[in-house]
Symmetry: D2
Subunit: 374 residues, 4 copies
């Protein structure tokens, strides 16, 4: 059962509400003897942190992470390492302004989860979205920082590839560019267009959607548990579960519907070291739910936040018709901050599958085969 | 851990290979006292069965299901009903032709799972795709037939909405039409275009992708387990896990990336019986991972099968470069038969969440609220 | 997968080491709208707390619990209630004395987990047993306090029924007595004998084992998930998983091996309100893995702690033979403090099964039957 | 959630009722490339099979197992091996006599699960106990035969050590003896006493309880997942979940309650190959929930079956008081056939933990340590 836990061998349980005392998570199943410090986690948290440009919410949260358990000094290196026991992380909420929410506490804001939480549970913490707030994703990013260390050599990077109607030009893709603009955009020219466009959206008090692409390189082949723990199925679940996400695709994705079998086939040749290579990657690095060794490519669509200045018709908890508009601190494009979150989720899923594979079949073995001895 | 099991309270474990003795499943966690017969299941299986038109593989499988356990005669009604114990279903494989596969047993067919199974496990059953065959999905359809009976009033229907570059016209959508053409197409005109188009694809020995839409109506509000068992995340996993699926979206889906907050907001008014109604359904029936009571709308993209007549470059198990083309029985558009499979997966996910919700919070309660007494 | 999580619908994930910053847990899956405060939890924690008599370790830990998430004010009552989201609890470690452990950090103390943790993980936090410390059980007791509130009317109580060779006299069983002596002993006379006996054990720097009995009354009939989630199997797991436990039994337990079928049969008659009653309870309230409605009776045996003054032969991490004896703060009979822990584990297991049952089959229905309508 | 599935990485899902069409199981998560044939499984099934002496039920079931999936010919060896996909096993029911049960279909037999199944599900398959029948355990034994092959070198053996009041003499323990008498008794003299005693019990139409001991040798150290997947906790669950079991203990078990710390400590010395050895095994091979490398020793108590000739008072489904006695085919000591079942459950649990350990921490590493490089 997964309510607030994801993963099977690498398991992440998160807790906390937007305006409660703290948010955090317990990471369980981490292999022992991995060097880890709060700084390793803080680095990723800082990429997700709000208030870093005028294009994200102005809430000021230091997002300082504290590690409560699961580390111990390794005598050989003098470094703190994981012990194989649960790693509990806590991030205190600092810049809460629950009063901001008293005006809308009985209103259902279109596109928000307040209505469904109320239907499900009979009440909900309306302060900043409570449990449904994007603030919860800080815990995911923290867990992802640990996951990145599990699969040796793996690199997981994300980028914003579409904002509203504007797409990047893939020919200009430059990973270095991603950290140089406030949009995680790999195309410097598109970043400038995003800036101008989003400035207009922000000034109107409106919002806009986006598409994010995450690429995981150096993922060992053989990861994935067919047929109901497929790597792509688990990625789909992990990415669709991020706040505001409405679509997920792998490799050619929805574009694959338009292709013929000839166009879609990733042909194979022998490469150097007698390893097979693929001549294209329509598959996005996954065949039959199992990693091929090619880069894993996933994209997800983020809807525009419903917190906008233009009044929208709605009802309240008492069944009265009314209107609502949002004047508080909000993101004109929540998709931006979804980039490090998407990376974290992909890293967690791959790490989980790495451990699962190792359990069933031992360390991943690369070509050449046929069959190894047991 | 889920290798070959999905669901949490309504759990489906499938087994079997394309050319082994049989395929089947064990459905566990089904509520007791639900009337069920093999005929109920056979009806759905017959919709997925191959060989029913020239547009699907000509393999002839009766797909006759046998129920081995989990039913007992209810004395009051004289009918067989579920007992709450596992329901084991077996479907024998009849029209196996394993010899068809000897020529390609050492070749990696681009786009097939043979390569990744070999990397993962060190061997694989190459006959008809073995475990990775679409034949496995018969077990899902069987399970879905049971799931449909669990949520009272729920109706789950699917349709093919795109084949290659051709889209249906949503204004002509007619559910009645779906059973009248071999494509599960809800638009009679599009069906005719599909037919002509696919006939050309078939004759060339080529294949083409498709998009399927599944709609679940009369799903109680309140289903879904935030934040890591969200209804949309579980649907994404269930649909992405179907063979050949490369993308999943809910409601506005990838289109949401292009929308502004104003366009995307599903406004609310009070309807009859003092129940809130939504004026649109961009959300696809799910907010914050929880069902709203509106129809749940999910779409998924199916790639063209890689089994085509045109030779493709590849390698074999021994690291030799070669070419491969497929002359056997295959589907020019595997997306067609994915329609009942998609329905089944959606039904299973909703049934599971219905039971999960009832466990945590009791029977779903509809508006009006605020809070019910415990 | 369960490393540091137990339960299925009512799920408890614990974290923390004996001498780390804090211990705690995340309780997930709790039904919404249950009144809950830190005081409710503190009450149970105080019963388990060390340093309350000379018969338990003199470590001084206030065990003050903080609730970080999962509660919100119910407007109707003005009280804090559960929201259905994860309840995170933290208990800071205050009276750590890690220096006490430097002398034994490389020694394997017979009966302690240091050796096996080292074999498993390649290192371990040796301070006070680290993760293997009984301190971890405070988190269980906290979770148990929440579990008790889920099953309406349920009462779970425990008692020490044997210490070393001394057994209580069941004819003198008085639940009121349990809180009047430092042994949780229901027999006042036995308590006096325990005191004298344990004082001798303590002065010698020795230790002794014990047997605890936990009784859960007013558990609805019908709870338990045959055949691999049987109520008794889950109780066995929960109780055997308490530190130092070496045996678990239900009802007649090992005594059942000595009985004939005639003696062991719990005969039935009709009681008042036309409800069936059992004339004995050899079954301990469970038949076929499902609760009967009778009191659930479980017993477990706790070994003597291996932390004793008498030197024992052992080896160290470097493979050198040596001796070890323990001079620090320890419990001469760890079984005493196991009483509230056993209660907590039983409460958690029953609460979990209550929710699981409700999910599959709806609210438990008492006699009369046969069959209810669905 | 586990209703009819146990294990985490090595997962067993069973199905079937005593007098239905068939029983069986799906074994999932098995490592690939393990040689396996139906004969391997049949060997263990034949040890559990009824009707082999006058001391077990006279039902005649060949218990012939069929493997439906999960195997494929390994080209190198020409042998069938596991493929890493689900292994489905089916055993047809042959000697059903459902008519035998019509007389008692409305009666609740004391000690049987009919009453609790009815309370839980509102109906039950009363023929031979339905799902609650010991017949279900054939599936466990089949799964255990596979599990035995996973942990290289592991030997799991069981023996009956007590029948009613009669205990074996441990000094005469001889594993060879176990297969020479119909009681799985390791003490030839005790076996003769058992025979005489049980003959008397059988003739009276009575029944008697028993204690079984299972020993697993050559289990790698380091297996077990503290703190909620402890090896002993999982063994307790697995053994308590066998039909009619009322108690489980590890190592010294309930006897540990009577011991002092000095007596209970398993002292350590350095043995040959610079490996640590234990001078005793009160721990039963498990410390802190993790295997030490010593033999794992578990015992469980089986109650006398309630199917006896002497009439017992009971009620029926309609709330009428009555009496019941059993004249059909039954076991005077169900504990006998529990021996191979106990072995199977222990083998499954250890195999599961072997895979789980390998997933988190890689192949088990034996002494010497301290710390290996990652």
């Amino acid at each position: 059962m997964s309510y607030n836990t994801f993963g099977h061998m690498f398991r992440v349980t998160t807790f906390g509400e937007s305006h409660g005392a703290a948010i955090g998570c317990v990471v369980d199943g981490c292999p022992p003897r991995i060097p880890l410090s709060a700084a390793d986690i803080q680095r990723d948290l800082d990429r997700r942190r709000p208030g870093q440009s005028r294009f994200t919410t102005q809430r000021q949260e230091p997002d300082a992470v504290k590690i409560l358990s699961g580390l111990f000094v390794d005598e050989a290196s003098g470094q703190e390492v994981t012990t194989g026991t649960p790693i509990a992380l806590v991030i205190e909420n600092v810049d809460q302004r629950p009063k901001d929410y008293s005006a809308i506490k009985d209103l259902y804001r279109p596109g928000h989860a307040g209505y469904t939480y109320d239907v499900k549970y009979g009440l909900h913490d309306y302060r900043g979205g409570g449990r449904a707030s994007a603030r919860e994703t800080a815990a995911r990013v923290a867990a992802g920082a640990i996951a990145r260390k599990i699969v040796s050599g793996m690199v997981v990077r994300g980028a914003l590839v579409q904002m509203g109607e504007i797409l990047i030009d893939r020919k200009r893709w430059d990973w270095e560019e991603v950290s140089r603009n406030p949009f995680f955009c790999p195309d410097a020219e598109a970043a400038m267009r995003f800036e101008e466009y989003l400035e207009g959206v922000r000034k109107k008090g409106s919002s806009v959607g986006a598409v994010i692409e995450v690429v995981a390189e150096h993922v060992p082949p053989g990861l994935g548990a067919p047929v109901y723990g497929k790597l792509d199925a688990d990625l789909a679940s992990a990415l669709m579960g991020i706040n505001a996400v409405k679509g997920v695709e792998i490799g050619a994705g929805f574009g694959a519907a338009r292709l013929t079998g000839e166009e879609n086939a990733d042909e194979m040749r022998m490469g150097k070291d007698r390893k097979p290579v693929f001549l294209s990657n329509q598959a996005g690095g996954i065949l039959g739910g199992i990693s091929t060794g090619q880069p894993i490519v996933a994209r997800f669509a983020v809807k525009p936040t419903s917190s906008i200045l233009t009044p929208r018709r709605t009802v309240d908890r008492f069944g009265r018709e009314t209107e609502v508009s949002t004047k508080g601190r909000h993101d004109p494009c929540v998709g931006i901050r979804a980039v490090p979150i998407g990376e974290a989720m992909v890293a967690c899923v791959v790490a989980d599958h790495y451990l699962r594979h190792r359990g069933q079949a031992g360390e991943p073995v690369a070509w050449p085969f046929p069959p190894r001895a047991k």
